[in-house]
């Protein structure tokens, strides 16, 4: 297969973006999912809905609002200026922030399901053995919910790789900085370089299939366990 140099740049950039976003969301999403799974608060419905929003919002809506929010007159733009860091649009960091919003439900929802499936009993047992809450979380909940962590991480990574609209709107299409694989493919198509678009698209197709195959093949199947 024939690749131009920009293709490798774009693949490496995409992998880095998806990897960082997955790690950040593991840290941010786990407590959020835990709270959603165990709370009896009347805010649960509201927070759950906000977390799920990126599932249904068109990427153009998310991209448009992020562009306004991150701009010099937007709340995030004012915050970054106050903190003395450079504005987020057209930067790799900006893509990370945007992707955290975009992929949030793909981390939180599988984790929440996994935590809910644990039920109260194992944690009550741990409490009677005088395990602290934090202790029982790491020694009881995390091991039981491990398949949930795996699913959530794979989905988050894959969904971030598949991001296009938001990146196109706030990235500025800068080589090696914000031109991810999906945008690179779009550029190939627009410039009528169809064979190059084919090659990179085939890589994306193969990757996406392998990820989902791994996800479904690795997932413990209760019927097979019998």
């Amino acid at each position: 297969m024939h690749f131009v140099e920009g293709d490798f740049q774009a693949i490496w950039l995409t992998a880095r973006l998806a990897g960082i976003v997955t790690l950040v969301l593991l840290v941010l999403g786990t407590p959020a999912a835990w709270w959603l799974a165990r709370t009896g608060s009347r805010w649960k419905g509201l927070i759950g809905a906000v977390v799920a929003l990126p599932l249904v919002l068109p990427p153009s809506v998310l991209g448009f609002y992020l562009l306004l929010a991150m701009g010099p007159n937007g709340p995030m733009g004012k915050l970054t200026r106050h903190l003395g860091i450079s504005p987020l649009p057209f930067t790799f960091e900006g893509l990370v922030v945007a992707s955290i919003f975009y992929s949030l439900p793909f981390m939180v929802q599988p984790l929440q399901n996994a935590f809910e499936a644990i039920g109260d009993r194992p944690l009550e047992v741990a409490a009677t053995l005088r395990a602290s809450k934090l202790d029982s979380f790491f020694t009881v909940a995390v091991p039981i919910a491990f398949p949930g962590f795996l699913t959530a991480s794979i989905l988050t990574f894959a969904h971030t790789v598949g991001e296009f609209g938001v990146v196109l709107m706030i990235g500025g299409n800068i080589p090696a900085l914000t031109r991810v694989a999906s945008v690179q493919i779009y550029d190939h198509v627009e410039a009528m370089e169809y064979s190059q678009a084919h090659h990179l698209s085939a890589v994306m197709l193969g990757f996406s299939f392998l990820v989902l195959f791994a996800l479904y093949a690795l997932r413990p199947d209760p019927r097979r366990r019998g």
Partner: protein, 255 residues
């Protein structure tokens, strides 16, 4: 009986007229001018339906090759429609309908006193241009920056919009301090109250000749040809020049 027959004829005549509908694919720089042209056209042709879709010329070109249901295609250059004519996707020749102009536009700075050389200034960190790989305005922006001798200094500051309207959005939101836009967008009600512009001398880049075609699928559609004819009318020429386009001499609509 005679009256009834006449009535029937009239009803069927009206409904045939009603059935006429065309879809126009137009380059994003035409947004404001074309909206006005279509609403004028509808005033004198109240039964006709004209639907306009705006986007990048390169994308429309590719879509028409794949059988997109567009009856007329207004490109921001001549090359895309010319290729469609060559490969049999057009029912007409390419008709030059206007020249576009490029401007420096800014909401944050006073662009009316700015030149391309000022873009090298360290105070300017982000400059938005349309993607030169497939957007005609982007190609012209790159040519102008090279001709002005500042390309090497500004290349690392460039951010690329998907088409000229998206490029305008990047500057309008303040995310880029300056942008190279179409004059037609700088004069639009959306942008003109929010910033200032300066024309880029048109000898710094190849001309932005803009051409349109009637597509092959619309060859037998009367309305498509009537709309093409309408483009040469005095009222359309007035609207186009009001919106910042330079017009070719003579009638632009005659095919």
């Amino acid at each position: 009986m005679k009256t009834l027959l006449m009535f029937c004829c009239l009803v069927s005549a009206v409904s045939t007229v009603h059935a006429e509908k065309i879809t126009v694919a137009a380059a994003a720089d035409l947004k404001f001018a074309m909206d006005e042209i279509v609403s004028e056209f509808k005033k004198s042709n109240p039964t006709d339906e004209v639907e306009v879709i705006y986007g990048s010329s390169g994308k429309f070109h590719a879509q028409i090759r794949q059988g997109a249901p567009y009856d007329l295609f207004f490109s921001a250059d001549m090359a895309f429609p010319r290729e469609l004519v060559k490969s049999g996707f057009a029912a007409s020749e390419v008709k030059l309908y206007a020249w576009g102009r490029t401007v420096l536009w800014s909401g944050a700075l006073d662009a009316s006193k700015m030149t391309l050389a000022d873009l090298a200034d360290a105070a300017i960190s982000r400059i938005a241009v349309a993607n030169p790989r497939h957007a005609p305005y982007g190609k012209r922006a790159e040519e102008a920056l090279r001709a002005a001798g500042v390309w090497d200094q500004v290349e690392s500051k460039l951010v690329y919009g998907e088409n000229i309207a998206h490029t305008a959005q990047l500057v309008q939101t303040g995310n880029a301090q300056v942008g190279i836009l179409a004059l037609s967008l700088a004069l639009s009600p959306e942008l003109s109250p929010k910033g200032s512009y300066r024309l880029i001398p048109d000898d710094l880049h190849e001309p932005l000749e803009q051409g349109f075609i009637v597509t092959a699928r619309a060859g037998a559609k009367g309305l498509a040809w009537r709309f093409a004819e309408h483009m040469g009318s005095a009222s359309v020429r007035e609207v186009m020049s009001k919106h910042g386009f330079v017009l070719p001499a003579g009638s632009a609509g005659a095919l």
